[in-house]
Symmetry: C2
Subunit: 332 residues, 2 copies
C-alpha cells in the first residue's frame, strides 16, 4: 500500500493527539451476528412522467468465457476488454434485467427472464424474476400485459412456471408480429443451421404453445403496444428484434432490449459481433444508429443485459460508446 | 427520434409479417394496480474474503447548487460538469452511503448518516439508515462497534435517535484520536472561523456528550480498529479524516470516506476544492495520492458520497480519474 501516513505539516499539532481517552468499561458481550449470506432483492423504481417503472433483476449467469462469444475479434481482445472493465477475463458475466411498467391503467412486464425452471436448475443464480417481483410486492396475477422484445430463451422462457402453468395467468402476451411469424415458419425452421438456431426454433415451439398461444396477440412497430409504450424495429440481434420507448409527459426512456449485449463489451466496441446476434452486420448497424441517437439526444436508456438496475446514459468515447449508469435515487 | 424502421434488406421477407394472429378473446378486466410510490430499500451485500459487507443508503440530499460548492473554480464550470454527468446543472445531488461490516465476530457500522431527526425533517429524503437497516434485517442493537471516519454531521449525527437515545445502544463508538482531540479542544474552537467551522464545533459538542462519550474509545491510524479493518490517515477533508482498508484473505476494499466528495465532480477533477474540505490543498494532495494508488493497484473502493451502492474501481482519465461502478451481483 502507498504511504498514507500523515503529512509533516500536521505533525506538530498531532503530537498531542494520541489516546486522549482511556479505555472504557467493556461492553456487554453480544453473540456474534450470523452473516446474512444472501443478496438483498434487486428492485429499483423510477418515474417516467406519471409512469412508474420497477426494474427487477432476473439474476446473472457467470460462465467460462466462450471462444466464440465475439465472432469477429480474437478471444484475447475480449479478455483484455474484460480486464479493463475490472472483471475476471476468464468469465462472462451476463445480467438479465426485466422491467415492469405501471402506466396507471396497465401493469406491463417487458420480457420474462430465464424462468422458474432455470432458477431451480441454477440454484437461484438466474430466473430470479418471480422471487424479486414478490420482494417488490408485485403479484404476477396483477400483470395485465407481457410484452416480448424477441424470441430468445432469456426473454421468453419465463412465460412458464416450472409446473408448466402460466407465470402471468391474467396477462395478454404481446409479441412482435414479424418475430412470431419467423420462428413459427416451418420453412425457416427447416433452413436453420444446426446448433444455436435449431435450438432456438425448438425452444420457441416449446414456449409458444398451449395457454401461451391462447393469450397471444401480435403487435406492429411504430405503434403503441400499451399506453405510452411504443415498439420500434431494432433488427439484427434476432429476426425482428424490438426496442421500446416508454414516454409520459416530457419524459422518456429507450428500452433497448438487446441492441447491445453487455455494455462493457458491445457498447464500448459497437463493431464487435456477439455469437448471439442472428445477423452480426445488421445488429451492428442497428447498434450504431441507436447509440448515436441516444448520445445525441442524451436520452436515458434501460438495458436488458446492463448490470442491475440497468438505467443509464450514453456518451461517445473514442470509436465506441460509454454507458454511464444513472445515479441511484433512494426516493422516487 | 432517429429513424429506427426496418432496413430494406429485410423488407421482402417482412412483407408477410403483419398480424399473423387475429385478435384474441378479451382478457378479464382487472382493476388498475396502484403505483408503489416509493423506492425499494437501498441495500446491497458483497463479500471481502470471509467478511460480509452490507451497504445501506442513508438517502440523498438534493439542494440548489451553492455558489461556493467548489471554492477554486467558477460555478459555471461546476454546472458544466454536472451537465456532462447527465445531472441537473442547477442542483447538487449528495448521496450518503454507510456500510456495515460483519467480520464474523463483530458487526461494525462505519459512519452513521444524517440521523433519524434529519429523516423526520427531510420527509425521508435523508437519514434513511435505520429504516434501511431494518429492510436489511440488521438490528441496531446487534451493532457491536460504530467506527467514525471524521466529525462531520452526515457521519456522526446518526449516533443519536430523534428521542435523544443512542441509535446503537450496545455498540462501542470508535473515533480517530486526533479528530476527537481537535474538535474537543477549546483553543481550537475559539479560533474557529464563523459559519461552517464554528457550526461544526457546536454540533460536535452536541453529539459527543452523555451516553456517546461513555461508550467512546479512540483509535490510532495504521492499526486495526476491528478485525480486518485498518484505519489510515487521509487528512484534509477534516483535521484527522480517516479511511479504512477492509481486508480478509486475499481480498480487500478501500473505504475512502470523503477522500473525494461526489465522484462525478471531485474524482473527475481532483484539483477542485470542496467548501466542505477543511484544508483544500491538503485534501487534494490526499485525494491524488489515494486515487493514484487505487488506479495503480486496481483496488476496489467504497465511497461514502458515491451513489448507492458505492462500490467501484478507479481508472485514470485525462487529468483526473473516472470511477467505474462495480457490477451489481444478484447473488453473493
Amino acid at each position: 500500500m502507498t504511504d498514507l501516513t500523515r503529512r509533516s505539516v500536521f505533525t506538530g499539532a498531532a503530537a498531542a493527539g494520541a489516546a486522549v481517552l482511556g479505555p472504557i468499561a467493556p461492553t456487554p458481550t453480544q453473540a456474534a451476528t450470523a452473516p446474512a449470506g444472501k443478496q438483498a432483492p434487486g428492485v429499483y423504481r423510477y418515474k417516467v412522467g406519471t409512469h412508474e417503472i420497477t426494474v427487477v433483476t432476473d439474476g446473472v449467469n457467470i460462465a467460462p468465457l466462450a471462444d466464440n462469444l465475439v465472432t469477429n475479434v480474437k478471444k484475447d481482445d475480449v479478455k483484455a476488454m474484460l480486464a479493463a472493465s475490472f472483471l475476471d477475463p476468464e468469465k462472462f458475466f451476463n445480467p438479465y434485467t426485466p422491467i415492469v411498467v405501471n402506466t396507471g391503467s396497465k401493469l406491463v412486464l417487458i420480457d420474462t427472464g430465464n424462468s422458474e425452471a432455470a432458477y431451480n436448475r441454477s440454484n437461484g443464480a438466474v430466473g430470479q424474476l418471480l422471487t424479486n417481483l414478490a420482494a417488490a410486492d408485485i403479484d404476477p396475477k396483477a400483470i395485465d400485459m407481457v410484452v416480448i422484445s424477441h424470441y430468445h430463451g432469456d426473454h421468453v422462457n419465463g412465460l412458464w412456471r416450472a409446473d408448466n402453468t402460466l407465470a402471468f395467468p391474467n396477462a395478454e402476451i404481446l409479441v412482435p408480429a414479424e418475430e412470431h411469424r419467423f420462428w413459427m415458419d416451418d420453412g425457416e425452421m427447416s433452413r436453420a443451421a444446426p446448433g444455436r438456431m435449431e435450438d432456438l426454433f425448438k425452444n420457441n415451439r416449446r414456449v409458444f404453445t398451449g395457454d401461451v398461444l391462447k393469450r397471444l396477440r401480435t403487435y406492429e412497430w411504430n405503434k403503441e403496444v400499451a399506453p405510452g409504450i411504443t415498439a420500434l424495429a431494432t433488427r439484427g440481434h434476432s429476426w425482428a428484434h424490438t426496442s421500446f420507448v416508454v414516454a409520459s409527459g416530457s419524459s422518456k426512456v429507450f428500452v433497448q432490449s438487446d441492441v447491445t449485449h453487455v455494455p462493457f463489451l458491445f457498447a464500448r466496441n459497437p463493431g464487435w459481433h456477439a455469437f448471439v446476434d442472428q445477423d452480426g452486420p445488421q445488429a451492428e448497424a442497428t447498434r450504431r444508429r441507436v447509440y448515436d441517437m441516444l448520445a445525441a439526444e442524451k436520452m436515458m436508456v434501460q438495458g436488458y443485459h446492463y448490470p442491475f438496475p440497468g438505467l443509464a446514459h450514453v456518451e461517445k468515447d473514442g470509436t465506441g460508446y460509454r454507458v454511464i449508469p444513472a445515479i441511484w435515487s433512494p426516493t422516487i
